[in-house]
């Protein structure tokens, strides 16, 4: 599979608790202060690739950095370090403000979690879908209307709904507007940030099937962020598991869920309610995650919460190692590998 998006060593750091105020900054310049201010390592040295036509899932609990990573990939925020290469174009070099006017802006688009929040309440469905077409494809008048109609039809949105405002649409219809807006400019990569989280299960089915159809018809790749592992299992070819800013496991979705190798993934899979299982598996995570502020680079991020913690886990950060198609960042990965 040819690689569409290559993410290499991407990091994003934020000043902790908003950072020093204006006066504190001025003071620092004259009086001086500690060399390094405390920083939150939201995303820490993340590398992965998305192939053409592939659907990659991204899972992890809140605070693991997936929102930040996704915003960095879609160039809504800038990275602190690393490269993001789309095709043959390196994207991270330009700042996000400048990138809004870039010719490649349309190649990565995003579908947001809550379509009610992500569509301007004062825009009709038509205007919401037309906005990127006006800005990025410079369409006007009849050409614009035709394109919007086509996209709306592709996304199962009846034409008479185009003149409605978001609050006049049902949850499923709003989700379709969000999708139509994103695919209208025919992106190469579509990032979906929990697109069905707010929807009823019956509506979710329809939307997921629509997404799969669109992917085939328009030849896109997907990065599907979700906390619902059952959905990720159905929709994604491969999956990335994040914890506290790092990727701890990666591999084909079916295999990762059937035989998770990293202790965190194991706990995650054990926690998902299954229709035909009891809540028997007692693999439970206790406590809270470690602080993401200036974490010790030599200690595994999962140490302390991990059911198995050894001296080694405190001494060296486990690297993401490859085992065939699987990648795991754990010193004990070999123990869990499925026997050949």
């Amino acid at each position: 599979m040819t690689t569409l998006l290559d993410v290499a060593d991407v990091s994003k750091l934020f000043p902790a608790a908003g950072g020093p105020g204006a006066w504190a900054r001025i003071k620092r310049r004259f009086v001086g202060g500690p060399a390094n201010l405390p920083q939150v390592h939201a995303v820490d040295d993340v590398s992965f690739a998305i192939g053409k036509g592939e659907t990659v899932g991204l899972v992890g609990e809140s605070g693991c950095g997936k929102s930040t990573l996704v915003r960095a990939l879609t160039r809504l925020i800038d990275v602190s370090d690393g490269t993001i290469t789309l095709g043959d174009r390196e994207l991270a070099r330009k700042t996000s403000r400048v990138f809004a006017r870039d010719r490649d802006r349309a190649r990565i688009q995003m579908v947001f979690q809550d379509a009610g929040e992500s569509v301007n309440p004062r825009f009709t469905a038509f205007n919401a879908i037309a906005d990127p077409l006006r800005r990025l494809r410079k369409l006007r008048g009849a050409a614009l209307e035709e394109r919007v109609s086509t996209v709306a039809r592709q996304c199962g949105l009846p034409a008479e709904l185009l003149s409605r405002f978001p609050h006049q649409l049902s949850g499923g219809q709003r989700a379709r507007v969000g999708i139509a807006r994103a695919v209208a400019v025919e992106p190469d990569l579509l990032v979906l940030d929990e697109p069905t989280a707010a929807l009823d299960v019956s509506v979710q089915v329809v939307i997921l099937q629509l997404l799969q159809r669109l992917k085939r018809d328009l030849g896109m790749s997907y990065l599907f962020v979700s906390h619902d592992l059952s959905v990720v299992r159905l929709l994604c070819d491969s999956v990335l598991v994040m914890y506290l800013g790092k990727i701890v496991e990666a591999g084909p979705a079916a295999e990762v869920f059937a035989h998770p190798l990293h202790p965190y993934t194991q706990a995650l899979v054990a926690a998902v309610p299954r229709l035909h299982d009891d809540a028997g598996t007692q693999l439970r995570l206790s406590g809270e995650p470690r602080s993401p502020i200036d974490p010790d680079p030599n200690v595994c991020r999962f140490y302390g919460r991990c059911p198995r913690g050894m001296e080694n886990c405190k001494a060296a950060m486990p690297a993401l190692r490859q085992f065939g198609q699987r990648h795991v960042a754990c010193h004990f990965a070999e123990e869990f590998l499925p026997r050949p």
Partner: protein, 296 residues
């Protein structure tokens, strides 16, 4: 599929036609809104054509008919110079209404836009705008208005300017808060993904959302602006005689209350009260019309 060439207006939300239909629905729904709209219309008509349809010339004095109580010939009676009070009250509508509208538009422009920019961009824009607002709020507002008019001169333009300045902090604060809430909203991020520059987002995505809230504020400020102008005129800092203006008329008639000629101050005062009351009621009705979330 419906015809693509069908009415564009329908797709754009119906435009003016739908707005009018919704307006009629809202007005019909709530009798108080209907009443305030009717009153508002009356005031607008009086402002537009008042000076030309009144029975007497507002400036013509006839000292022989001075201080006559309300009668068939003079509905509101006459003042000390024999001028017909009814004609003066109606004629004054134009001036007071103009002052109200112009002050409000001015403060919406400077205050609203400054506040939205401060809330959206943050940083130094926010600091500068907020400190300006704080400085203005440090003064008792009416005293500040007095000071501005006294310093710049007794003209209608300066009254408008002074009113706008003393209302600046309110608009800036409200606009800043609303813009700040929406700064990281999903639709703003979506707008960035769609290739909008920050200024476009401010103008076309944020401002239309802040506008309804400011509109309610504008209606309330109109009432306050009239009271402000009337207050300034009352103490001699506003419009000068013989121009008919409700504030001056109340001031001129105040002394006569003691001697029993209540009508000289009463009718302009009642007009003031009704106008302010009407503008206040208007605020709620306006928001119901303008806010698309309430459209059903």
């Amino acid at each position: 599929m419906t015809d693509i060439t069908a009415n564009t207006a329908t797709r754009r939300g119906g435009g003016a036609a739908a707005l009018l239909r919704h307006a009629r629905y809202v007005i019909g729904e709530n009798p108080i809104t209907g009443l305030s709209f009717g009153l508002f219309l009356l005031i607008v008509i009086a402002a537009l054509v008042g000076p030309w349809i009144v029975p007497y010339n507002p400036l013509a004095s006839d000292t022989s008919a001075a201080l006559k109580p309300p009668s068939v010939a003079h509905w509101f009676g006459t003042d000390q110079l024999g001028r017909d009070i009814f004609s003066r009250v109606v004629a004054a509508t134009q001036l007071d209404f103009a002052i109200a509208v112009l002050s409000v538009v001015l403060v919406f422009l400077i205050g609203g836009l400054a506040g939205v920019a401060a809330g959206f961009f943050g940083g130094w824009t926010d600091r500068v705008v907020s400190r300006i607002a704080d400085t203005i709020m440090a003064f008792p507002l009416f005293v500040l208005a007095m000071g501005i008019v006294a310093a710049l001169g007794n003209t209608v333009q300066n009254i408008i300017l002074a009113t706008a300045i003393i209302n600046f902090p309110l608009y800036a604060r409200v606009a800043r808060a609303e813009a700040n809430i929406r700064r990281e909203a999903g639709f703003v991020e979506a707008a960035r993904l769609s290739g909008n520059s920050e200024w476009r987002i401010l103008a076309f995505h944020i401002l239309p959302n802040v506008f309804p809230i400011l509109v309610v504020q504008m209606s309330l400020t109109m009432g306050y602006a009239i009271l402000n102008a009337a207050g300034l005129s009352f103490i001699g800092l506003g419009v000068r005689a013989p121009t008919p203006e409700w504030g001056i008329m109340v001031a001129e008639g105040a002394a006569n209350i003691i001697s029993g000629e209540w009508w000289v101050a009463f009718f302009p005062g009642a007009a003031l009260m009704i106008a302010v009351f009407c503008f206040n009621l208007l605020g709620d009705g306006m928001r119901d019309i303008v806010d698309p979330r309430r459209r059903t």
